[in-house]
Structure formats: structure tokens, C-alpha cells
């Protein structure tokens, strides 16, 4: 009897049309909010990471100019840590025990270091390699005291080239990164367990020798890129998913 009474009470509450309608409105709100939130969150996470790395590169350059000293910004691909420091003479581009950190940034777990078509944490994910003919000096950006870039010597760290044409999607500030690679710190998002196709590139001196820092996003195939090119473009960016 009590079970029947409880069921009646339960039914009275949950079969009430008012509850059903309220639930339907709540469910639709949650569904739409969730879908929009997921998209915004995913995009903002990788954008924030790319902005974080870019800000540290800009700060490193500014410190180099302010102090008129060499400043090195190194990316540890394994620990995902980006650290900058003033390189005391003799400049060896390595962090000696006496050299204190100027700034650091940890790349979040939701973002991977990966170049277009490359492996996660692969050699091209941070393409600022080989200085002073030393193959072991990799994954670091070095600024001189005048703010200019010490040019990395590895093949994968060459500057990009201009795209063959300027289109609505590939604007004048875009670059084409040849298959051998081009210099940059490449950050890719993650879509569930697999790596996403949204790749950002933070780099210095795309065109010219002024030490200008750039933040560009890869234009995936089918989004208006030039055939046969790996184009990276400034905003407004095209997103995959």
C-alpha cells in the first residue's frame, strides 16, 4: 500500500505536465549551452596557450632590448615548459646555474606541441634549432641586445616564404611554410583522444630582420588555402570543428 502510495506521489510529481515542460526547457537550454560552450572552450584554450607563448616571446625580446643583453627563450618539449633567461657572457645559449629565469609559461595539457603533419613533441614542433653550429642547441629562441633574432641554422628553422597569391583567405600577412619546415613554435589542439587540426604558429622574423613576433594559424585543406601550400594566416581564423 505504501509502495503504491509512493508511486502515486512520485507519478503525481513527475508525470505532471508542468514538470515535463520545465524539464524540456531546461534540457534544451543545457543542450545548446553545452554545444556552444564546448566549441568556445576548445577554441579559447588553444588561443590562450598560443597567446601565452607569444606574450613570453615578446617579453623576452623586450628584456633583451631593455638590458641590451642576449635573452634566450627555451621550450622543453617533454615538460611543456617555456622559460626565458638573460644569457650572461660568454653567451652559450644554455642556462647556467647563475642565470635566473625571467619568465616561464607551462603549456596546458589540452594543447600539444606539434607541427602540421608532424608527431606530438616531434623535432619540428619547436623549429628554432642549431646555433653556433652546435646541433644540441635546439628548441630555443635567442634575441640579441638590439632585439634582433639570432638566426637558427637548422634546415627546419628557415624563414617561411610568401604564398604564391593573395586571396580572400590567404591575406597579405600570411606565410607559406614549405614541406622542409619553417621556424616556429607550433601548438595544436586536441579533439578527444586524437590531435585536432587547429595548429597555431608563434614565430619571429617571418619577413625581414626586425625581430617581429607573429601569431598565425594554419589554414587547413578545404578552407580556401592555395593548392600545394601550407599556409598560415592571421585573423580572422578558420577553425576545424
Amino acid at each position: 500500500m505504501s509502495d503504491s502510495g509512493a508511486r502515486t506521489g512520485f507519478g503525481r510529481v513527475f508525470k505532471s505536465i508542468e514538470t515535463v515542460v520545465a524539464m524540456a526547457i531546461l534540457a534544451s537550454a543545457c543542450l545548446f549551452a553545452g554545444a556552444y560552450f564546448y566549441t568556445i572552450l576548445r577554441r579559447e584554450r588553444i588561443k590562450a596557450a598560443a597567446q601565452g607563448v607569444r606574450a613570453l616571446v615578446l617579453a623576452a625580446r623586450m628584456q633583451a632590448v631593455r638590458r641590451e643583453r642576449y635573452v634566450v627563450l627555451a621550450v622543453d618539449v617533454d615538460s611543456r615548459e617555456v622559460v626565458s633567461w638573460i644569457d650572461d657572457p660568454p653567451e652559450n645559449f644554455l642556462r647556467d646555474p647563475s642565470e635566473v629565469s625571467l619568465g616561464s609559461y607551462r603549456i596546458p595539457d589540452s594543447v600539444e606541441l606539434r607541427s602540421v603533419g608532424g608527431d606530438v613533441g616531434g623535432p619540428d614542433s619547436v623549429a628554432f634549432d642549431k646555433y653556433q653550429w652546435n646541433e644540441s642547441l635546439v628548441d630555443r629562441i635567442v634575441f640579441r641586445g638590439d632585439g634582433s633574432l639570432v638566426i637558427p641554422q637548422a634546415v627546419n628553422s628557415r624563414p617561411p616564404v610568401r604564398p604564391r597569391a593573395v586571396t580572400a583567405s590567404v591575406t597579405s600577412m600570411s606565410i607559406h611554410c614549405p614541406p622542409v619546415g619553417c621556424r616556429g613554435i607550433f601548438l595544436a589542439d586536441r579533439s578527444g583522444r586524437r590531435i585536432g587540426e587547429n595548429v597555431f604558429r608563434v614565430s619571429v622574423d617571418d619577413f625581414g630582420r626586425t625581430g617581429k613576433v607573429s601569431l598565425l594559424k594554419w589554414l587547413p585543406p578545404g578552407h580556401g588555402g592555395i593548392a600545394g601550400e601550407r599556409d598560415f594566416t592571421p585573423p580572422p581564423w578558420k577553425w576545424v570543428n
Binding site: I17, I25, S28, A29, Y36, Q51, P235, W237
Partner: protein
């Protein structure tokens, strides 16, 4: 006879859900548009958009409930509350979709400023769409309750008794 008379009445919740769901278009499309730029979406902006959507949904639900439980007489112009509510709801949903499409299409090319496209659409939403949704859900709620006309021979309390039917 039952099937024919009850079928259209079960669309009430669809009307409410339609309004609550389309509210996200004019409020969330500007944020999606902002992800295309280098700047990050600000937390106040996100709170405002989400708050407006939740406010819209809550008001729709509350006004529908208020309409169901209300016993005050409706003006003659609103003698068919359910139909009028349905029409207003369709208008509000169409307005939401239109605003969302306009933002998605043109917001990036508009210069930022005090009266940017996002601000204009937010004002339009608060001034026109939200009151429309409130009215529509109230009328839809009123339309879900059948009130028999009072018979002179019956006592007053029997005459005003409400007979709830399906939404």
C-alpha cells in the same frame, strides 16, 4: 475526435523549447565570432550572454506556469490565447534566428564601438524579443487550461473551477 483536438495542444512545449533554444543564437553567435579573432573572449561577455539565455529560459517557463495558474479574464483581443501565443513565439524564434544570422555574417566586418552590431542586437533582444517571449509563454500557458463559461445556475466556486488539459 480526441486525436484531432489533442494533437495541436501537444505542441505547447515545443513552442516554449523553440523560444528557449533560439535565444542562444543572438547571444552565442557573437562569442563564436569572437573566437575567430586573436583576442580572447572576456569573462564578463560570456557571463552576460549565458545570463541572458538563462534569464530568457527561466522567464519563459515561469510565465507559462503563471499563465496556467492565472484566472484573471483576458481582454477580448486575446480571446484565442493559444493561437496568438503560438504566433508570437514563431515571430520571436524567427527574430532570434535572424539576429544570430546577422551577427554571424556581418559582426566581424563592423567597426567596434559604442553602438556595434552586438550591442544593437542585444538591445533589440531585450526590448522586443524578450517581452514577446514572456507574452507568448503566458498566453500559451493560458491556452493550456480550459475554463468553462460560468453558468448562472451554478455557484461561483464551481463555475471558476479549472480543468487542466495537456500542454
Amino acid at each position: 475526435m480526441d486525436a484531432n483536438t489533442k494533437q495541436p495542444r501537444r505542441t505547447g512545449w515545443v513552442i516554449l523549447v523553440l523560444m528557449a533554444a533560439t535565444n542562444f543564437l543572438p547571444w552565442m553567435e557573437p562569442l563564436i565570432r569572437e573566437t575567430l579573432s586573436a583576442e580572447l573572449v572576456g569573462a564578463p561577455r560570456l557571463r552576460l550572454s549565458m545570463g541572458a539565455c538563462l534569464l530568457g529560459g527561466a522567464l519563459v517557463a515561469m510565465c507559462w506556469l503563471a499563465g496556467r495558474h492565472s484566472s484573471s479574464p483576458l481582454p477580448r483581443a486575446l480571446s484565442r490565447p493559444r493561437l496568438i501565443g503560438f504566433r508570437i513565439a514563431l515571430g520571436c524564434a524567427a527574430m532570434n534566428i535572424f539576429c544570430g544570422a546577422i551577427v554571424a555574417r556581418y559582426a566581424a566586418s563592423m567597426p567596434p564601438g559604442r553602438w556595434s552590431l552586438d550591442v544593437i542586437i542585444a538591445v533589440v533582444w531585450f526590448v522586443a524579443v524578450l517581452p514577446g517571449e514572456v507574452l507568448s509563454s503566458y498566453l500559451t500557458g493560458r491556452g493550456t487550461v480550459r475554463r468553462p463559461a460560468p453558468e448562472p445556475a451554478l455557484p461561483a466556486e464551481t463555475a471558476t473551477r479549472e480543468m487542466p488539459i495537456e500542454a
